[in-house]
C-alpha cells in the first residue's frame, strides 16, 4: 500500500507543466489493450516521455511493456485511450511520425538467408522517406556504429545472438531519429556489448534523441536514464525523473532487539509512522527524525538494542516495493 501511495506522488510530480506539454516525445492517455481472450495486457496507462529524455521503461517480463510499445508503434490496435508521438496523434500520423522513430521491438528479426547489409537495405528500401542515394553510406554508418562492419556480408543465419541484437539496433539507426524505442536492447549481449549499447544510448541522447529504453534489468536503466516508468501487471505504477524516484526511496531504520514490541511502541510514541515487526526486528521509515535521537529514546526506554541500522534504500528496493516482487521474475 505504501507502494501505490508513493507511485501516486511520483506521478503527480511528473505531470509538472514545466516538464510536459506538447513537446513530449511520447504521451499516452488511458491507453488500454484488452486481447480477444479477455486478458487486459495494458490497463489505462498514462505514459509521458519528455523530449530529450532517456526513459527507462521498467517492469518484469510480462508486465505489458512490449504490448505498450507495440501499441505506441501501431502494431496492435489499442482497445481504448489515445496517444501521441513527437507531438502528433497516433496512429493517425504514423506515416509522418514513424520515419523519425527507430525501433527495436521484442528482439531482432531479419531474413536468415540475407546478409546483415542486405537486410538493412531491404528495410531502407521500404522507407518512402529515405534517400536511395545515401542508402549505402547510411547502412555502412549504422553497421559501424554497432560494430558489425566486419560481419556485414555474412548471412543473418550465421549471426550470434549478440550480433543479431546489434543488427536490430543498426536498423533503428538507419536514419537520424528523433525518438528511439529500444525494447530490451541488451538481451543476449555480453557485459562488453551491454556497455557498448549503454555508451551508444548516451551518445544518442547527447545528440538530442529521445530514447525509450525498456528493460527488466534495473542496472541498465540506473546508469543511463533520466526518467523512469515502472510497469506492473499491465499498469504504470510509477513514473518520473530518476531523482524523484530516488527521493521517494526514503531511508529506513532497522532495530534488532529481544523486545521488538517495546521498541515498536517507543517509535510509535515518537511519531515514527507505521513501524513493523519481523522476527525480532523492527523496521520503519525514518521520516524527518534524526537516527541519533531515536536510538537515544530507545535506550532510555530500556529497550535492549542489539543492532541499530539506517538504510538508504537503493532503487532496487523501490522497485521491489512498487512491483511487489523482485525483477527477473516472470509473470
Amino acid at each position: 500500500m505504501t507502494a501505490t501511495a508513493r507511485a501516486g506522488s511520483v506521478a503527480a510530480r511528473s505531470t509538472d507543466p514545466a516538464r510536459t506539454g506538447s513537446g513530449d516525445a511520447i504521451r499516452t492517455e488511458g491507453r488500454t489493450k484488452r486481447f480477444r481472450s479477455g486478458q487486459v495486457a495494458v490497463d489505462r496507462i498514462d505514459l509521458v516521455v519528455p523530449r530529450g529524455s532517456v526513459y527507462g521503461f521498467l517492469g518484469p517480463n510480462g508486465s505489458g511493456k512490449t504490448t505498450t510499445i507495440r501499441m505506441l508503434l501501431g502494431l496492435i490496435t489499442p482497445t481504448a485511450g489515445s496517444h501521441s508521438m513527437l507531438g502528433e496523434p497516433m496512429p493517425r500520423a504514423a506515416a509522418d511520425v514513424l520515419p523519425r522513430v527507430g525501433a527495436l521491438v521484442e528482439g531482432p528479426a531479419f531474413h536468415p538467408h540475407l546478409s546483415g547489409r542486405r537486410n538493412l537495405a531491404r528495410l531502407d528500401a521500404a522507407d518512402r522517406t529515405s534517400d536511395p542515394r545515401t542508402a549505402t553510406t547510411r547502412i555502412g554508418t549504422a553497421l559501424e556504429r554497432v560494430g558489425l562492419t566486419a560481419a556485414a556480408g555474412k548471412r543473418y543465419r550465421a549471426y550470434s545472438l549478440g550480433m543479431r541484437q546489434r543488427l536490430g539496433i543498426a536498423a533503428a539507426l538507419l536514419q537520424p531519429r528523433d525518438l528511439l524505442v529500444l525494447d530490451e536492447p541488451t538481451n543476449g549481449l555480453d557485459p562488453q556489448g551491454t556497455r557498448e549499447v549503454r555508451g551508444l544510448v548516451e551518445s544518442l541522447a547527447h545528440g538530442g534523441t529521445t530514447v525509450l529504453l525498456s528493460s527488466h534489468l534495473l542496472s541498465e536503466v540506473d546508469q543511463v536514464c533520466t526518467h523512469v516508468g515502472v510497469m506492473h501487471v499491465g499498469r504504470l505504477v510509477s513514473q518520473g525523473t530518476i531523482e524523484d524516484l530516488r527521493t521517494a526511496a526514503v531511508p529506513r531504520v532497522h532495530v534488532r532487539t529481544s523486545r521488538p514490541d517495546d521498541a515498536a511502541a517507543v517509535l510509535r510514541r515518537l511519531g515514527v509512522p507505521a513501524p513493523t515487526v519481523h522476527s525480532g526486528e523492527v523496521v520503519a521509515d525514518l521520516g524527518p527524525f534524526e537516527p541519533e535521537a531515536l536510538l537515544r529514546e530507545l535506550v532510555l526506554a530500556d529497550v535492549p538494542v542489539r543492532e541499530f541500522r539506517v538504510d538508504t534504500a537503493d532503487l532496487e528496493d523501490v522497485f521491489v516495493a512498487l512491483t511487489g516482487e523482485g525483477f527477473d521474475v516472470s509473470g
Binding site: 507495440r70 501501431g74 496492435i76 506515416a95 520515419p99 525501433a103 521491438v105 531474413h111 531491404r122
Partner: protein, 288 residues
C-alpha cells in the same frame, strides 16, 4: 547532465517527405526471386517440359493416350510448351503459387520481420500491394518458364513445322508462338487469382506452411468440385473452372469467349480476396 535540458535537434521539426518509388517493390522481387526455395520451385517447373520432351523423344512414335497436345509433339516441338503447361496446370503450378503466396505475409510474420516493416513504416495496404505484385510476377514467371523452356527444348528435339490448331487448321510458327504466349499469359492471370486467395490465407496465420497447404488444398478442392456434375450450378463460380479455357485461343478463328470469362472470373477473385486480405490485415494485431 540531464538530457532534458539538451537543445532540441535541428532535424526534429520538419516532417519527412514521402516519395513514390519502386525500391520496396524491387527489394520484394529480389527477395522472392532470390530465395533458394522459390528458385527450386521454378526449376522443378522447368523440368516438366524437359521431362515430357525427352520422354516423347525416347518413346516409340505411337501416339496413343495421354494429356492433350502430347501426341502432336512429334509433329511440332512447340507443342511441348502446350503439353507442359497443361500438365502443370492442375497441380504443380497451383502448388508453386501456393508456396509463394502463402508465404507472402505469414512468412514475414513468422520471421518477425513484419513488425519491422510496419514500423519503418510501411502502410499495411502498401505492404499488401507490393507483396501481391511480387506474387503476380511469380505467377507469370512460373508460367512463362514452363512455356519458354518447353518451346526451347521442343524446338531442340523436334521439328518446327506448321502448327495444327484445335480446329484442324494449320498456322505458321510465328502465329503459333504468339498464341502459345497468349495461353501462358492467360494461365498466368488465372494463377494470379489463386495468388490473391493465397495471400488472403496468408494474412490469417503466422505459419507460412499452414497458409501454403491451405491454398494448395483450396486449389485442388476447386478442381474436384468442378469435376462433380451434380454441382454444375456452382461450376462457373469456381476458381479453377476457367483455367482450361486457353483452349479457345487455339481455335480458328480464335475465340475469346472462354478466356474473357476466365479473366473476368480471375479479376473478381482478385478483387474479392484482395479486399478480404486488406480487411483482415489492416486491422490485425501484429504480435509475432
Amino acid at each position: 547532465m540531464s538530457a532534458v535540458e539538451a537543445v532540441a535537434p535541428v532535424r526534429a521539426t520538419s516532417r519527412p517527405r514521402r516519395v513514390v518509388s519502386t525500391r520496396f517493390l524491387r527489394s520484394e522481387l529480389r527477395l522472392v526471386f532470390g530465395r533458394l526455395r522459390n528458385l527450386a520451385v521454378l526449376a522443378v517447373l522447368a523440368g516438366v517440359p524437359i521431362l515430357i520432351a525427352v520422354a516423347v523423344r525416347l518413346s516409340s512414335p505411337d501416339s496413343g493416350e495421354g494429356p492433350a497436345f502430347l501426341s502432336s509433339i512429334t509433329d511440332n516441338g512447340l507443342f511441348v510448351s502446350l503439353a507442359a503447361m497443361t500438365v502443370v496446370l492442375p497441380l504443380f503450378l497451383p502448388l508453386a503459387v501456393a508456396v509463394v503466396s502463402g508465404d507472402a505475409v505469414a512468412g514475414e510474420a513468422n520471421l518477425g520481420t513484419l513488425r519491422y516493416l510496419l514500423t519503418v513504416p510501411v502502410r499495411r495496404s502498401r505492404l499488401l500491394a507490393v507483396k501481391y505484385t511480387a506474387v503476380v510476377a511469380f505467377c507469370f514467371a512460373a508460367t512463362l518458364v514452363v512455356g519458354l523452356v518447353g518451346a526451347a527444348i521442343g524446338l531442340a528435339l523436334f521439328p518446327a513445322g506448321p502448327v495444327t490448331l484445335l480446329s484442324g487448321t494449320t498456322v505458321g510458327s510465328a502465329e503459333a508462338s504468339w498464341r502459345i504466349l497468349l495461353c501462358a499469359l492467360y494461365i498466368g492471370a488465372c494463377m494470379a487469382a489463386l495468388g490473391a486467395v493465397g495471400m488472403f490465407v496468408s494474412t490469417l496465420t503466422e505459419y507460412p506452411v499452414a497458409a501454403m497447404a491451405s491454398t494448395a488444398v483450396l486449389a485442388v478442392t476447386s478442381q474436384v468440385l468442378d469435376a462433380l456434375p451434380q454441382l454444375s450450378a456452382i461450376h462457373p463460380y469456381l476458381l479453377s473452372h476457367w483455367w482450361l479455357a486457353y483452349g479457345d485461343l487455339l481455335r480458328d478463328p480464335m475465340s475469346s469467349t472462354g478466356p474473357l470469362h476466365g479473366l473476368g472470373s480471375a479479376a473478381a477473385y482478385i478483387a474479392v480476396f484482395g479486399a478480404l486480405a486488406w480487411a483482415r490485415f489492416a486491422g490485425r494485431d501484429v504480435s509475432s
